[in-house]
Symmetry: C2
Subunit: 503 residues, 2 copies
């Protein structure tokens, strides 16, 4: 190890330590903090963020980084650390300080006007702030730099190396296959949800069910926690301290359980990070898309399978003996797989979800490139929903005002959700061909044997940290570059079994 | 405000912010942290502590502080801030870095050997480490400096300005009055505890009782929390985020409720700090003795009064309807005031508690001054217990090995517990003479009217922060320097009413 590289890594350890503390305070803010503590908590978080930022952008960091790059890399870990630190350093230093401040100030302002606009169902309240946020994102793209498309610079923030040339064909493939599939399902009869609607689903029993199922698929509660919060998330400090949350609705139990499985998936990834790379950038989980692949895997590919439903029935019955009387694994499976076009992204099913994302992606691309005017946005949104999902919002709050992301200045973030779905199907297909010699994965899940799949993800994804770029990680793990095909195949197969529909 | 003073205060704001974060992480560690997260949490806390320490001891801090002192102080706040920062700076810089490290290393070692010694009931396991800890404390006293007695330097760490010349007469007064009082009570019949022992006291109901009573005396749960932990404490980040804990024993409900009232007292003090002095040293709560006065006030002077017991009966009955059948306010009052010499400090009652402390104070003074040899310590401990409390430990673990403090290197800490008891009685007497024109305080408490007393503490103690030294604060609030007499009067009066004993 070179001398400069050693210095660099000890600087990174400090920055990482601050990040762990930020993770804990962020969790506490959502889960534990008393209401009046908000303003001083903001001071604490601002100090941590200033401290971490100045450690990253100080002149000495740039010098040590350059010196370490001069020393060169003899192995993939060193090369990955240098690549990741260079990327983070460039992203942090390319933005002028006054821009960072303008952006942060405008973000606070536009989150407020978005919330007001949504509450009053009036896009005009948010219009000017959104227009300015788009301008700020264009300015940001110029600072960060790009080859072809300014939107590429924004995509790259959330998933390193992602660009329009990569994403366009993925969404095109999805659109061509999913839109007719969803339309065909729309002609079919919906599954029987009466057993769900007829009962009350107590919060304590839901919590125990979620906890038990999370532990059964492999979440280590000695290195993490489950709590309740308004917006479910997975956070915490490090692989020994992973904290996920859920929320409860006593009218229906799926939101909490499948939310828990989703966050468990994120949590399993964090707990599976390569511990010999603690405090090194290459030891971090990979981009947002790969992270989402792990949450979607356990939530959907595993959790919404027939085998899983059959395995889970005794767990359900233990916590809800009366409600579950006469409910079979197949009834449960059909109920958790209701496919139905709807207006709200966060409530969408596996099939329609990606169409919600595709619409946002197309709109973002056009907004950033000046191909869509702000005043045409609300109707363009509704038109695309009608075109691709066959539904049209009766108001703005269920239309263009539904998501917080743009008010926060996060353009380029949405596509990572769909990448997660695509990656999860592609990874599962690869795991299947490695593991299914004597038993299918479904046969393992039916008896609660999730370890082989988790172990495969551990070796091929979790323990690889950020050593490769996201796209390379997928290629190394599956032998193929990212593709929409495994997801399309998975969904076609599922819809055929559920609705007897072939498209 | 001078320029240097402004710089100084913004440095202090940063240090204070780090302290708030440390407070949160410390709370989390005891209350929320999953078991495996310990080692990396230690890294986070070590980074915060290093960062805060280097901000305090950096050369620039010394220069800015001197320059601010040159500018001078026009008001009591500025004067107090300068005095407190000078004190903290001197304490931080007088110790050589290698000493700080040796001390920290030896502390870890001797906490372990103390724990082992206590578990195996074998003083010899701890002997050498304790001897070295005493030497380290003598060395520390030399670095910090003192006028008369090296032990003064150690007392001053925990309560600014405290010294043997102040503490000796307090303990002498206490000893002369309490020892015969306790002996006289020993001749009397014990109160009836059968109603307590006959019932099971469910944890949830205990938690609700504690919560309700804490809120009733004035704790603001919008600016704080109650949780469960192995060792009860009051911590958190700042006056908007005060977090106290308790523990539960289903065999008896007093430990939890009175522990809760104790921590509530600490919490009320924190919540009552002067908010215009946020981030300034003068806005902090005063020394440990004053802090303990507030916890003891609500736990004992208020909480163990007959009036409080009578007011509390409906709360008890609400949460424990069956257990409380036929229990009167007077029965409750007698049960929570059992006076009985015992071996264990943390379980001691109001009267005997201070004798436990007095014994430790005398022993510490002798150990630091070389008047007591380490090998004579265990028997000296037992002899003093026999002399003053009439009880002798059958083993070492209930004797000299019972407390963790010395293994942590905390010599000079114990006396602040008794100071708290003395201050609380002296403050209550002063509040009484200010407030009792139409009603006695007891008449107010009997109907749950705790606001007048809390308001008096707010104005005379809480809102005064650390503007005055602890001894001056007591003098300003009560018109008298710290004295044991109000506490002795209070206890004599109580014992007379409880046991019909006059000494």
């Amino acid at each position: 190890m070179g001398e400069a590289y050693g210095q660099l890594m000890s600087k990174m350890k400090e920055i990482e330590t601050v990040g762990q503390i930020q993770g804990l305070l962020g969790w506490d803010q959502e889960v534990m903090m008393p209401p009046k503590a908000g303003p001083l908590r903001a001071e604490q978080l601002a100090w941590l963020s200033r401290t971490s930022h100045s450690m990253m952008v100080e002149t000495e960091m740039g010098e040590v980084l350059s010196a370490a790059e001069e020393e060169g890399a003899d192995d993939e870990i060193t090369a990955a650390n240098l690549r990741l630190i260079r990327d983070a350093y460039d992203k942090a230093t390319k933005k002028p300080a006054d821009f960072v401040e303008r952006f942060a100030r405008h973000k606070s302002k536009s989150i407020r006007s978005w919330a007001e606009a949504r509450e009053k169902d009036d896009f005009s309240i948010f219009r000017d702030d959104l227009a300015e946020m788009i301008d700020l994102n264009r300015e940001l793209a110029e600072y960060l730099g790009y080859d072809d498309n300014p939107y590429d610079a924004l995509l790259d923030i959330y998933e390193s190396g992602l660009c329009v040339a990569q994403v366009d064909p993925l969404f095109q493939g999805l659109r061509e296959s999913l839109v007719p599939l969803i339309a065909a399902v729309g002609e079919c009869e919906s599954p029987d949800m009466s057993w769900v609607e007829a009962s009350n689903w107590g919060e304590d029993a839901q919590a125990q069910l979620s906890h038990g199922i999370s532990a059964a698929v492999g979440f280590d509660f000695d290195a993490g926690r489950r709590d309740k919060s308004t917006h479910p998330f997975c956070g915490g400090a490090n692989p020994d301290d992973v904290r996920w949350t859920t929320r409860y609705d006593e009218n229906e139990p799926f939101g909490s359980l499948y939310g828990s499985l989703h966050e468990t998936g994120h949590g399993l990834y964090e707990q599976g990070r390569p511990r010999q790379l603690d405090f090194q950038p290459s030891g971090h989980a990979n981009g947002l898309g790969v992270h989402e692949s792990q949450s979607r895997l356990w939530e959907n590919q595993v959790g919404r399978s027939l085998a899983f439903s059959e395995w889970a029935i005794p767990h359900w019955s233990k916590h809800f003996p009366e409600n579950m009387e006469g409910v079979t694994g197949e009834m449960l499976w059909r109920s958790v797989n209701l496919i139905e076009p709807s207006l709200i992204r966060v409530e969408a099913d596996e099939a329609t979800y990606n169409i919600h994302i595709m619409i946002r992606y197309e709109i973002e691309k056009q907004l950033i490139n000046g191909e869509l005017e702000i005043d045409d946005l609300p109707d363009a949104w509704d038109d695309m929903y009608e075109q691709y999902l066959g539904v049209r919002s009766p108001d703005r709050k269920q239309g263009v005002l539904q998501d917080i992301h743009w008010s926060m200045g996060a353009f380029g973030y949405f596509p990572t959700y769909t990448l997660g779905n695509l990656y999860s199907a592609q990874l599962l297909a690869a795991a299947r061909s490695d593991l299914e010699s004597e038993q299918t994965l479904e046969e393992m899940w039916a008896v609660g044997n999730f370890a082989p799949l988790l172990d495969w993800m551990r070796s091929n994804v979790h323990e690889r940290g950020s050593i490769s770029t996201p796209a390379d990680l997928i290629k190394e793990a599956t032998g193929q570059p990212p593709s929409p095909q495994p997801f399309i195949d998975y969904l076609r197969n599922k819809v055929e079994r559920l609705y007897n529909v072939t498209v």
